[in-house]
Symmetry: C2
Subunit: 227 residues, 2 copies
DNA sequence: GTCTATAGAAGGATAGAC
DNA sequence: GTCTATCCTTCTATAGAC
């Protein structure tokens, strides 16, 4: 805010946002108390209410932070590892899979988490949540456009990206509810099947389908999801 | 509980469950206060804690109630109106669509609502939520099996039902976050497209594709979601 | 800018009369 | 079984010293 702010100022603010982010992710917004945030951040109430007008204001900062984190946290790690534009999509989905596994199926998509909890009751948060979704959709649609040559002509990449987000969010929800990765893997398998068909119908068949195919498939008997 | 319970006993208990159900649906579990439930039900704290050990215990009763309501509330109204087994699936999806529209996109699937809010923090609730999902999946899979003749041989109906649930839950979440029916309609359109292809690949092509096709499509330019 | 202390409201749950 | 009254905790937010 002030023009010559010290380092520590930004540090404290950042620490609050980051701590709140982690707690909201793990327990949700309402279930996370301000006291808990302060304790974990090693700060006191005075600091929080110096930077933020309210707990909800802190939530908005967290959601803004997520918009900034889309690139560095969700996209870049995948894009560095994978160059094929279709496989990059599955790499992104694999990121959420890893998150589910690492947290024993307690955490999936941070935004989806907050979306259902707050959409009805917190209009300001709902707006930034929607912006996060839109950012994700646009990034994925851009990625898909790089594979446009291999995909059927006339395919709407924006619609396909929305479809991917819808499926991913639903799959994360079910994985958490069942405390099992199975519903998530089933959704990805369905999607893989869908893409296989898209690619075999593509106008320019020159580019061969990448071999990374079987990578992420589990050993389950899910092979019979054919069309 | 007691063997010769009066009518009013069951009435009070039911009223508590039903009132809590509506409030949990609209505002979520944590955001709904016990006092609010009591006020809306026209009862006092003594009554609630006579029948339920805690607020969470009441939640479990609500979730059990939802399991009983799957038939009468979700399936039967659709099955009475629609006889074609494939169209029945889309009829069920249309039910959730209607719920979104009626509530100005505030309410979608009651179970999905509670799933993300409580899966991490309330193990007992999570279990009954998963049971609700399983009930839905089984019912829809049974419905799909009636259309087995028209669908490709070897298609796994249980997997397909899971796919439908995943997509529906994701679509409801996005519709709520965007306060718009568009993401929901887009998901259903994608699904319709998917089924069209399934049906045209079916082993027994004798049964003609029902004409109800264009019914639920909005006037949006979503026709280009082809494959 | 950060601290301690605390206000003030709302939360879930209980006690005991009827 | 239902009522009223209330306990105790937790919550967000504020006041004022440093």
């Amino acid at each position: 805010m002030c023009h010559f702010s010290r380092n520590t100022t930004q540090d404290t603010r950042d620490r609050l946002i980051e701590t709140a982010r982690q707690l909201f992710l793990k327990k949700g917004y309402t279930a996370t108390g301000v006291a808990e945030i302060l304790q974990k951040a090693g700060l006191n109430a005075g600091s929080l209410y110096h930077f933020f007008a309210s707990k909800e204001d802190l939530l908005l900062a967290v959601l803004e932070r997520y918009k900034e984190l889309l690139g560095p946290l969700v996209l870049q790690p995948v894009y560095e590892r994978i160059s094929d534009s279709v496989e990059r999509v599955f790499g992104i989905l694999d990121g959420y899979r890893g998150m589910l596994l690492e947290t024993d199926h307690e955490q999936g998509c941070p935004i989806g988490n907050l979306a259902l909890e707050l959409s009805t009751t917190h209009p300001a948060a709902r707006k930034v949540i929607a912006e996060n979704f839109t950012g994700w959709r646009n990034a994925v649609a851009d990625g898909l456009r790089e594979a446009a040559g291999r995909l059927p002509a006339g395919l709407d990449m924006d619609q396909l990206a929305l479809f991917l987000l819808t499926l991913m969010e639903g799959a994360v929800m079910l994985a958490r509810a069942y405390r099992s990765i199975e519903p998530y893997d089933a959704a990805v398998a369905q999607l893989r099947d869908y893409f296989d068909r898209l690619l075999s119908n593509g106008t320019s068949r020159s580019t061969p389908r990448p071999a990374a195919r079987a990578n992420r498939q589990k050993k389950r008997g899910r092979r019979n999801v054919r069309v």
